[in-house]
């Protein structure tokens, strides 16, 4: 599996997402938000990480939705590609209209950071297809604007379509409508959640309930691959072309030479070097 993790200015959690993915044995690459062209065949999944892009100014995710990369993220999603947003990533997907609804400030008006009980409600999405409905997970949350809202008509449609994929258990943390903690689009390939699944994959940091989500994404991608007859597997890994991060960028005609990815890359490597186990090498 090859992930593209998008780096937004102020989006501080991109390196830790990369570290988590590599810990699980996946390839993960950072993509600077200023890059206007994402090669859909290069990645199996695009991840929009948590953080505080643009300081959450105006509204969380509001300014990030205007980033040069977003049109190609839209295209990628329209083509069936898997797009996942955690935390601020979810907020950006909502602002960009890739997912229905919007975020309000938590009911307490305070930031909340804790391990939260979260239940899987629908296995229809790329993030949850590997779970069973009603599976109970313990996952970290850390946000101030996680109070999900959507109008009644849309909510009804979403419920009917199985688009409510995750809900908070007791005690609920933010006043979200219907306790909604994560949703997907109609086809299930775009998923957003306030839960920080990537923080729940390290054995020495508490919960590892996040692992199943990445397994879900892998099986979803595999299904899509085998479902496409005659098309060469877009595994995202370049065979023998010796592409490095930089080369990959320029081949797609979009590296802005800002070294923003390099900085985040070395941060990710540092985090990864502290992981207890490197994880098994997987596809």
């Amino acid at each position: 599996m090859k992930y593209g993790v998008i780096v937004f200015p102020g989006g501080s959690a991109a390196p830790e997402c990369v570290a988590a993915l590599r810990h699980l044995g996946h390839d993960a690459e950072l993509i600077w938000h200023g890059n206007p062209a994402v090669d859909p065949d290069a990645y199996d999944c695009l991840l929009l990480p948590p953080g505080h892009s643009y300081g959450d100014y105006l509204r969380p995710g509001a300014i990030a939705k205007l980033s040069p990369i977003m049109p190609s993220v839209q295209e990628y999603a329209a083509g069936g590609g898997v797009v996942v947003g955690f935390g601020n990533g979810f907020q950006i997907l909502l602002e960009a209209g890739l997912l229905p609804g919007a975020m309000l400030i938590n009911r307490s008006c305070k930031y909340v950071c804790r391990l939260q009980r979260i239940a899987v409600e629908s296995t229809k999405s790329a993030l949850t297809c590997g779970f069973q409905a009603a599976d109970a997970l313990l996952l970290p949350i850390a946000h101030r604007w996680g109070n999900y809202w959507v109008d009644d008509g849309t909510l009804e449609r979403m419920e009917h379509n199985g688009q409510i994929v995750l809900v908070y258990g007791d005690p609920e943390p933010n006043g979200s409508l219907r306790g909604i903690a994560g949703i997907c689009n109609e086809s299930g390939n775009v998923v957003g959640t306030m839960a920080h699944f990537h923080r729940a994959v390290f054995e020495d940091l508490g919960s590892t309930d996040g692992v199943g989500a990445f397994a879900s994404i892998a099986s979803w991608v595999e299904k899509v691959r085998t479902g496409r007859n005659g098309r060469s597997a877009p595994s995202g890994r370049s065979e023998g072309s010796g592409r490095s991060v930089r080369d990959g960028h320029s081949a797609r005609g979009g590296c802005c030479s800002c070294r923003g990815c390099d900085v985040a890359e070395s941060a990710a490597n540092m985090i990864a070097a502290t992981s207890v186990e490197g994880g098994n090498a997987r596809d």
Binding site: G10, S12, E16, H52, H196, A273, T274
Partner: protein
């Protein structure tokens, strides 16, 4: 009032200035000198005392004198850390005061080339029955959260204390920790005559002019009125500035760099020049400004946030500009390094100020008058033996619940759940643990961090109290399995011109020094905050101790609370009959007096060595130090953290009333748990290392049951987990629910 008096200088100081300069200073020059000679910047009233503190050790890579201290933790990795106060601004605007406090600390770390990996905070506010105190606490915590979370550096630990003396003078101490390769440390030096001097980061406005002077005076209505625009932090710019500076350091573009905090450009230019023995010439017209019509005086004194002064490697100015532009920030050459030892300020080419940098950075050093305070005679002589012990178990149960619900002891979850403790996926210990444990990027090591101070102890006995603060910090680290290495301190006191206050300051320093020597934890830097009083009542002496320790293997970290049923519980150390100054005496009997527990630094040392050794041998399932609230509270906390009850029998060094055994705050103690099969080894190790160790009982069930050793019928405490949790977890949310949340 004369011009210089308005700026906080005495007549005598003005005379000194004229003598050293050989002429009278102009208005701009006077402004520059006055901020640099403020207590906050110059430490003129505290320097003489600070010189007595131990600052050396083989582990110290950088001691006091730079932007942050740095300690070697092994493998060529340096850890930079520092604590500083932002007390006065927080009293007026708690959110921004606390936020900009964090901002300043982050900059002090990354200006050394270190990547910040953790923040801590120590807060003291008034009694929570006061609306003002709730307002301040709410704002300060929100400010730390708002700024710290947005920058992406996890806030991993802290402490909050309450007493009415902080009502108008809250303390907001911010601490930051970062990592750097030991051979890549950057310093604040303007080296290389002819090199460029650049300002990088945000634009300059009129914020915080004379902020340093404000911070150095009593907080009366007058000083608050005359204060200038409050500094407002921008965490988004700060995170960009952090990345830009670290990138510059990594690229090798930097000769010297310093952040701009108190006294802005005046401070950074003069300090960088003084350290290098050079001079600096700048033109304020070149400084990017966000207001119109700023005078040179305003530009030199502005405390606008998120700015740095940089001396780049010659020829790489354009590279610096490019890096900063990428991150959306300014980078402008404003001057040159000279060889004349002067700070020369020009405006559109004309000289408007010209002062020797030494004049700015070498303020007079005073030794203030010192006199033992009268109140000590009353409180220290109080005889605690007259205090009756509540009956068992109902009275003792009620006493324990009351202490658990006391804000000083109660769970601080209300605060720490507002902090993004897990950012960076490196935080190992729960925020409620004794010390935070953070994985060091690129290494198997971990660092342990804590910040604390028992200000009641320091008020009752400044010397012993300060020693206790150091010992307790070291115990916290050792309980998590880490070896204590070094300290950064924030010394918060009242008005130094009052002899009683200065006496407290001197004695605290003495106690701190003794403890640091005994425990091998030199002081690598810190901050002094004086004049924390509203013109009448000084705060209690509050030497906040921020301590750093190392775990050679982070997987050896030991949790604080019980982890499993059937584990054996052992008390390391001895309980003595000394409830003087205890939380129990204050909260249950309404008395704050008596002799505080004696401090035995040798015993503390032995306990620390034992805890580190036992952790290394993986003999401990949990370890929690005994401090506020005594043994009963420590046991309750261990039970609640693990959601497991315990059955134990307790005893003291000699026969004593039950409440003394349960609530004395004797030092050098820790409650540990171990697998039954490891108990013998552990007890043997304790004996070898000369630490008293007593098997108390076992974990299990859902109640905390304590009886007196030797008579298991005499039940002292019998409380359910839920009851204790209600008191412990409910206290702060309940008190703070009366204040509306900030938008």
């Amino acid at each position: 009032m004369t011009e210089w008096q308005k700026m906080g200088l005495t007549d005598e100081e003005y005379r000194m200035i004229v003598e050293r300069l050989g002429r009278e200073p102009n208005y701009t020059e006077l402004g520059m000198i006055s901020v640099m000679w403020s207590e906050h910047c110059s430490y003129k009233n505290s320097k003489a005392v600070l010189k007595t503190l131990p600052t050396r050790g083989p582990q110290v890579l950088q001691g006091p004198g730079e932007n942050a201290g740095i300690v070697h933790i092994g493998d060529g990795i340096g850890v930079a850390f520092k604590i500083e106060s932002h007390n006065h601004p927080s009293a007026v605007e708690p959110y921004e005061g606390a936020a900009t406090g964090i901002g300043g600390m982050l900059r002090d770390i990354f200006t050394m080339g270190a990547r910040p990996i953790a923040s801590l905070n120590a807060l003291w506010v008034g009694d929570l029955s006061s609306e003002k105190s709730r307002w301040i606490l709410d704002g300060a915590v929100a400010g730390i959260a708002g700024y710290g979370n947005a920058v992406g550096v996890p806030t991993v630990a802290g402490c909050i204390g309450f007493h009415r003396s902080y009502e108008n003078n809250p303390l907001v101490n911010a601490m930051c920790v970062g990592v750097i390769r030991a051979d890549a440390i950057k310093r604040g030096v303007a080296a290389g005559v002819g090199n460029s001097v650049m300002i990088i980061g945000s634009s300059t406005g009129r914020d915080g002019i004379h902020g340093a002077t404000f911070a150095s005076a009593d907080l009366t209505d007058e000083t608050v009125e005359s204060k200038s625009a409050m500094q407002v932090g921008d965490p988004f710019r700060e995170s960009a500035l952090m990345e830009a500076c670290l990138e510059l350091a990594e690229r090798g573009c930097v000769v010297g760099m310093q952040d701009m905090g108190a006294a802005g450009l005046t401070c950074s230019t003069s300090e960088m020049a003084s350290r290098a023995g050079t001079g600096i010439e700048i033109d304020v017209a070149l400084v990017p400004m966000r207001e119109e019509g700023m005078t040179p005086y305003e530009v030199m004194l502005s405390e606008s946030q998120e700015r740095m002064l940089l001396v780049p490697v010659p020829g790489r100015e354009q590279e610096v500009e490019a890096v900063l532009a990428k991150w959306g920030l300014h980078a402008v050459r404003i001057g040159t390094v000279t060889d004349d030892g002067m700070v020369t300020v020009k405006d559109h080419g004309s000289v408007v100020a010209c002062l020797p940098s030494a004049l700015l950075t070498e303020a007079p050093v005073y030794r203030r008058e010192s006199e033992r305070p009268a109140y000590l005679d009353d409180v220290a002589s109080f005889d605690t033996s007259i205090v009756p012990s509540p009956n068992a178990p109902e009275g003792l149960d009620a006493a324990l619940l009351k202490v658990l619900a006391s804000p000083n002891v109660a769970s601080k979850r209300w605060a720490y759940e507002q902090f993004n403790t897990g950012a960076g996926v490196a935080t190992v210990a729960d925020p409620g643990a004794d010390a935070a444990v953070v994985k060091v990027p690129g290494s198997r090591r971990g660092i342990a961090l804590t910040v604390d101070c028992n200000s009641r102890f320091c008020w009752l006995d400044p010397e012993a109290g300060a020693a206790h603060a150091v010992a307790e910090a070291a115990r916290n680290l050792a309980c998590s399995g880490a070896r204590p290495l070094a300290i950064t301190n924030c010394l918060n006191f009242g008005n130094p011109y009052k002899p009683e206050v200065f006496w407290q300051f001197e004695r605290c320093a003495r106690g701190m020094a003794a403890a640091c020597e005994a425990l091998d934890t030199p002081i690598t830097g810190g901050n002094v905050s004086l004049s924390n009083e509203d013109g009448q009542t000084p705060i209690r002496p509050t030497p906040a101790i921020g301590m750093l320790g190392v775990l050679d293997d982070v997987s050896l970290a030991v949790p604080s609370g019980f982890v499993a049923e059937g584990d054996s519980i052992i008390l390391l150390g001895t309980t003595c009959d000394e409830i003087g100054g205890s939380e129990y005496l204050a909260v249950v009997h309404g008395i704050e007096a008596g002799r505080i527990p004696r401090i035995d630094l040798e015993a503390e040392r032995r306990l620390i060595d034992l805890l580190v050794a036992a952790a290394g041998a993986r003999l401990l399932r949990s370890a929690h130090d005994v401090s506020d609230g005594g043994l009963a509270v420590a046991l309750a906390e261990c039970c609640m953290a693990g959601a497991i009850g315990a059955d134990l029998a307790v005893t003291g060094s000699q026969p004593m009333p039950a409440d003394r055994m349960l609530f004395s705050e004797s030092g050098a103690r820790a409650v540990v748990s171990a697998k039954p099969c490891d108990v013998e080894l552990l007890l043997q190790l304790a004996q070898d290392m000369k630490v008293p160790a007593t098997l108390l009982g076992s974990t299990g069930g859902n109640r905390l049951r304590v009886c007196a050793a030797g008579s298991t019928d005499a039940i002292l405490i019998d409380l359910g987990l839920q009851e204790m949790e209600q008191a412990y977890e409910g206290a702060l949310p309940c008190a703070m629910s009366k204040w509306p949340a900030r938008g």
